[in-house]
């Protein structure tokens, strides 16, 4: 099940290209006896991957590992490569969405889908979803949540800035609502993709 790179997730101007390879042979040093080994690689546009990419990779990897049925492919490797094409804000949620669509397209078994939503709280206390880079810079706090498709619960959260508990819960609620739209988009695009084949 190799998915040749074709998944492009532009959100406004932010674009990410995702490719999923697997299940394939794994190096003995990396193999896990009862599960597949998931490798996430985030390639920035300029320069080599650095600490920031590693942090983002960890967020994406933990989310994917929670949703993939890794025990169905022991001693195999699943590789997910995310290439940043253009960053105009909400980059982590773009990575998450692209990752989920690539895994879906590759046909890897998952127990549920997930999506990423970014919220920003600006200086007035207003919540903005899917902020652009300019909006992110001027906001007081930026949070990204990974929401699952079955129970709409939060799988992963990554926040930056200061905010109150109430604001956090509000952002979570907003993200849960926004995630419904994203899942509908997933359904529509999968339907279109396979409409010609089926």
């Amino acid at each position: 099940k190799i998915s040749i790179p074709d998944i492009l997730t532009p959100a406004g101007d932010t674009s990410v290209l995702a490719a999923a390879y697997g299940p394939a042979e794994v190096k003995v040093s990396k193999e896990i006896y009862d599960r597949a080994t998931l490798d996430v690689l985030i390639q920035p546009k300029v320069g080599l991957p650095s600490v920031r990419e590693r942090a983002q990779e960890q967020c994406v990897r933990e989310t994917c590992e929670a949703s993939l049925l890794l025990s169905l492919h022991p001693r195999s490797s699943l590789t997910l490569i995310l290439q940043l094409i253009h960053d105009d804000g909400s980059i982590l949620s773009c990575f998450l969405n692209a990752a989920c669509m690539a895994l879906m397209d590759a046909g890897l078994p998952m127990s549920f889908l997930f999506c990423g939503v970014t919220c920003a709280i600006d200086v007035d206390g207003q919540i903005i979803t899917d902020p652009t880079a300019a909006q992110e810079k001027e906001s007081r706090a930026v949070m990204t949540f990974a929401i699952d498709s079955k129970e709409h619960k939060v799988m992963m959260s990554s926040t930056k800035g200061s905010f109150s508990v109430n604001e956090l819960q509000q952002c979570v609620a907003v993200s849960q609502k926004a995630s419904e739209k994203i899942f509908q988009f997933y359904r529509d695009s999968v339907k279109r993709r396979y409409s010609k084949i089926l």
């Binding site: 790179p5 492009l8 406004g12 101007d13 390879y21 094409i85 253009h86 919540i127 609502k177 926004a178």
Partner: protein, 389 residues
């Protein structure tokens, strides 16, 4: 991942077909695949597709101190990333032979041909020059990477805009970008890939054809029909006529590709002037069934505030774990009182205080952790004793 081997029958089929002047995708022996050049949102970002081979190039610049041997010249840096996305055989570490070969060839072609006038990159002689960095990412590998990479690099360089610089005394400030890139030397160098299978000559091999080829002749030529570099690799020996023929083919192709490049640049300039949205997202064909576009929609947020406050009230109060920090002595911070030392050794007061700071953030959990460690230690001792007796 290991490369899948090419079976013998596939190899024989390919060679036989080439002997009969037939190629896998029905092209003629000197035909190029369909090439498409598009640009990204930023200046200096371009995508080049040649059939299924896809490459993205991005140019960026920064002000640095120049090399000591050349204080008047700017610095150019090329980097081809063979992303694991391009082929499952590409690993993240860059040591592979192919990657080194591509990097060296690209550098040789573009640096030595002087397609960019490096002296124009100088801002303050001996102190500040522009360092131009070209990153080429290979997104999909279906043969002929060198060609596509060089076209992408050149196109990105043509497309790039260097920021304006104003110098006041010792200070150099960079003003927002929009200045036209100034290349003195017409830059359209194209590397041109020719592969040889036995005695047959193919232009623009796809991945399968690359696997069965015997040797490779690479010609880099600019639009003035001057050869910038030639490289011949593989075990073949070429006759003079063959080399001449190849260079003639190269000159024809170079002019075609240069035309395409200029047209693409003009289209992009026009689109930007009209203020339309340009970028990778826009360049993807929208009419294809696999493409889906979603307009900006607003999210309903009416009952969000009530939901949030419900959740907050329903949640338990956070445990009073961490007491506020205390400064007993200047230079010493202390949070909490720390725990009883469980090593069972005689220690001085200094150690206790050090430990107090270390145990600071653990609070209640610390106690459980410590007892667990103690239990484990006892278990370990017991088992060790069991082993050695």
């Amino acid at each position: 991942m290991k490369e899948t081997l090419l079976s013998n029958c596939e190899r024989d089929f390919l060679l036989q077909a080439i002997a009969e002047k037939k190629r896998l995708d029905g092209r003629q022996t000197y035909d190029y695949r369909k090439m498409k050049i598009t640009f990204g949102t930023d200046y200096g970002c371009c995508f080049v597709d040649l059939g299924k081979t896809r490459v993205m190039a991005q140019v960026s610049c920064e002000l640095v101190a120049p090399k000591e041997s050349r204080p008047n010249e700017g610095i150019m840096f090329f980097n081809i990333e063979l992303s694991p996305m391009a082929s499952p055989t590409f690993e993240q570490g860059r040591q592979s032979e192919l990657s080194v070969k591509l990097n060296r060839q690209l550098e040789r072609c573009l640096r030595n041909s002087k397609c960019i006038d490096t002296e124009s990159l100088c801002v303050v002689s001996g102190e500040k020059v522009w360092k131009i960095r070209v990153d080429v990412h290979v997104l999909n590998h279906d043969g002929n990477l060198m060609d596509v990479a060089s076209i992408a690099a050149i196109t990105a360089l043509c497309h790039f805009r260097r920021p304006d610089v104003s110098i006041q005394g010792d200070e150099v400030t960079v003003v927002s970008p929009k200045e036209k890139w100034d290349e003195r030397y017409p830059s359209s160098d194209h590397v041109f890939f020719l592969s040889f299978c036995r005695t047959y000559l193919l232009v623009d091999p796809c991945e399968r054809e690359e696997r069965v080829m015997d040797g490779l002749l690479m010609i880099a030529m600019n639009k003035h029909r001057e050869i910038c570099s030639i490289q011949s690799s593989g075990g073949i020996m070429l006759l003079k006529e063959q080399v001449m023929r190849c260079s003639k083919i190269a000159s024809v192709k170079v002019s075609e590709i240069t035309e395409l490049l200029i047209k693409a640049l003009e289209n992009d300039k026009k689109a930007r002037k009209e203020g339309g949205r340009c970028g990778f997202a826009e360049s993807m064909p929208q009419e294809r069934i696999t493409a889906l576009k979603f307009e900006e929609t607003s999210v309903e947020m009416t009952d969000v505030a009530e939901r949030a406050s419900d959740v907050v009230q329903g949640a338990e109060a956070p445990p009073l774990m961490v007491p506020s920090p205390v400064v007993p002595v200047p230079g010493v911070g202390q949070v909490g009182l720390g725990l009883q030392n469980t090593w069972g050794l005689e220690e001085e007061d200094d150690d206790e205080e050090e430990e107090a700071e270390e145990c600071a953030n653990r609070g209640e959990e610390g106690e459980e952790k410590v007892t667990k460690m103690e239990v484990e230690r006892h278990k370990k001792d017991a088992s060790r004793e069991g082993q050695f007796t």
